[in-house]
Symmetry: C2
């Protein structure tokens, strides 16, 4: 094995290491392209035959990747995708970028990690370096992954393979920080594993930050996202109070930002969306219970977030009520279903939850989003994006602004419609026809 250790370090040094990436989604594909652009051989594993085909024909489907970058690395054979997980044995290193969702009871659903570990255990060669990138609760790498991999492979960590955790920090739509230039944390089970991981990732990523164990690295990612959940929940709650007190919370936030230390601005909105903030903290809450520990701050933030779609529906109802209209039978147009501006991702989007509740109350729900042609809500309703015509704007009873895409011309919209519920600070002032969060 010391043989294998020298071997993989030599390959990393020579740039001849072959990297397998499991899962070619928002995290895995950018990571694969980032390695491949540095002329590292990447083999991407993906269960979706459709994604495999698209990658292998150089067709990009992730917003954070330049189309031309994907084309180039595929045509130059640095990146190949496959559905055949037995090819894991070709790889010197395997990086796992699979989803870690919650089930309908907000419990961690780690079946994708377990499945990835089985595939790896059954197929890897001796001397493989394995790292998990998916956000999960502390102890996952050591206590959940390790036994599965050892059992399936019949191999032993440190003797036959190395295991680490290195959390992805992908921020979809961030123009400045992409996979390659965002510092990356890594914690491995052993010192040798850490050395391999540091060397491997450094081929593609500028700044690596080592920590003492996988569980520390796991906690880092959860802390980052818990911080965001708690602060967004706080500002949402304060926004609702401020509304009642005739205080413009956005003006308050801009003023607070003039404090040169000890403050970071968060902005209110109709709720928390995306695949990280609404999920990750509940991974921690889950494992905390094993330690007889209740996480009150996360719990409270979760309760607030749960209530937001309802509170937003009440806002819509109150606004319609001023024009002597009920929700039931009114035409209500939602502008934007992406969970944040200028991206095409509607996962966990608060807009969809509000649409469900408004539809349930008899509202005639419709939406427009230039980036998302159709959606399916949590409760299973399906909608197609309508064209934002003058006719549509004039015929609806209420426009609800749920995402502040840069492409929206809010001034023009305000001139063409009778009632606006602005949940995203698209308008500075409230008027008789514009109601703010």
């Amino acid at each position: 094995m010391s043989n294998n250790y020298e071997k993989i370090l030599d390959k990393i040094k020579a740039g001849t290491v072959k990297v397998g990436i499991l899962g070619l989604g928002y995290v895995g594909l950018p990571l694969a392209v980032t390695f491949a652009l540095k002329k590292v051989d990447v083999l991407g594993f993906e269960k979706s035959g459709d994604k495999v085909k698209r990658v292998n024909s150089g067709k990009n489907y992730i917003g954070d990747i330049e189309d031309s970058d994907l084309e180039r690395v595929v045509s130059r054979k640095y990146l190949e995708a496959t559905e055949d997980f037995s090819r894991i044995k070709e790889c010197d290193a395997v990086l796992i970028c699979v989803p870690t969702p919650l089930d309908r009871f907000k419990k961690p659903d780690i079946k994708y990690i377990e499945s990835a570990c089985r595939e790896i255990g059954q197929n890897m060669k001796k001397g493989t370096f394995i790292a998990l990138e998916s956000t999960t609760y502390p102890t996952t790498t050591e206590e959940l992954m390790l036994p599965v991999i050892e059992k399936e492979s019949g191999m032993k960590v440190e003797e036959d393979f190395w295991l680490a955790f290195s959390p992805e920090r992908v921020d979809p739509g961030n123009e400045q920080y992409k996979t390659g230039n965002t510092p990356k944390v890594i914690g491995a089970m052993t010192e040798k594993g850490l050395k391999i991981g540091m060397g491997l990732y450094s081929l593609a990523i500028k700044h690596m930050y080592p920590v003492s164990s996988p569980r520390v690295a796991e906690m880092v990612k959860i802390l980052e996202n818990t911080y965001r959940l708690v602060n967004i929940s706080l500002i949402n709650e304060l926004a609702l109070l401020a509304g009642k007190m005739r205080i413009n919370i956005w003006e308050v936030i801009e003023a607070a930002k003039t404090k040169p230390y000890g403050f970071q601005a968060f902005y209110p909105g109709p709720g928390i969306g995306g695949h990280c903030i609404p999920l990750d903290p509940f991974y921690l809450e889950y494992i905390a219970k094993k330690y007889n520990f209740d996480l009150a701050m996360i719990n409270t933030a979760g309760q607030l977030d749960n209530l937001m779609p309802h509170r937003m529906t009440v806002k819509i109802s109150s606004s319609l009520n001023r024009q002597k209209k009920p929700i039931n039978g009114s035409k209500i147009l939602f502008l934007g279903v992406a969970y944040k501006p200028d991206i095409s991702d509607a996962r966990e989007s608060p807009a969809l939850k509000i649409m469900d509740e408004v539809a349930h109350k008899g509202g005639d729900v419709m939406y427009h989003d230039p980036y998302i042609p159709e959606v399916k809500t949590v409760q299973g309703r399906t909608y197609k994006s309508l064209s934002l015509t003058d006719e549509l704007l004039s015929e609806v009873d209420c426009v609800v602004i749920t995402t502040k895409h840069k492409t929206f011309d809010f001034d023009s919209i305000a001139g063409k419609t009778s009632l606006i519920v602005d949940l995203q600070n698209a308008y500075t002032e409230e008027t008789k026809r514009i109601f703010k969060l």
Copy 2:
């Protein structure tokens, strides 16, 4: 009155305006000195005859002020202090810097503001500009101060005087940001009031940031401190969980700080102290109830903070227990009672609350703090700071590190005592004799 308006603006322009400052404590005295250093005539009003004497003899008692600055402005007659509130009539502007504490039931105690307003109303001349700097709940200026001042003076706002809110942002011990170079927010009841306030404060303060109303300015300060309360509570809670999971939370925080966006580090400790963070958010919680609104995040943070002294006592008890000792009868030495490092302020210090609980359980409590010679706890116990001798360190059963003063030599302390409970990350690693939070 338009006459008065031009008059005060002219005086501001000429630098001949006379500024009264009510309350010469942590906020008022630095503000007074900052104005006086800019050659503005300042008259400080203070009920404590002792403080008045000290100021008038040029003797400084606030850490953030250079002794020589106070001496200079007093000797050159730019600053004078008085107990005689009838002299408010000499002033063109009056700035209120009085305490806004909570009572024992965590309800806002605004008696100092009310009393200041009565003094001002009874004594001011026409054309006075009044601003409150004390942190308080939104609507205080408009709904609490205004009626009192109008009633006591028989004058009308805008016609006879102007009223504004401009929150102090004093951060005791901050070497970089002092009163003069910290941007300052101001919201006034009228445009003329805002113009006077901007001009007046700009004589002493580099960056003024105007907002649309006093209540917005009131909310700004509360947002800033609520943000801190919530985030310190969150990291304290995560630290307690991390301890159970064998995760070093400080290592986690350092690693999370490598994220170049969307994260701000807060550090755990034995609880929340000082005169702002533990108090201000509860002002907001109080007024929220008037609007039928419960602030769940603040409430939860408050609960966590309430429990911290108890949890820290349990930590001490568990650590002693490993050495087969009970709290009852053990000699327990607390290092540091200031609420943060390198200052002499023990207000709301968590150390005092832990000392109370440990003493209540029969512990033989003692403390050492180089900056604070004696303290009185919430429950009324009094202690004097002991000299930190080798003999003391060797004879106590447990040293509890509650404040991380730079003057402490932790390595030396560790070599001389048998058991340390480190609540402030003074030591990197846990050992058989050092237990971390």
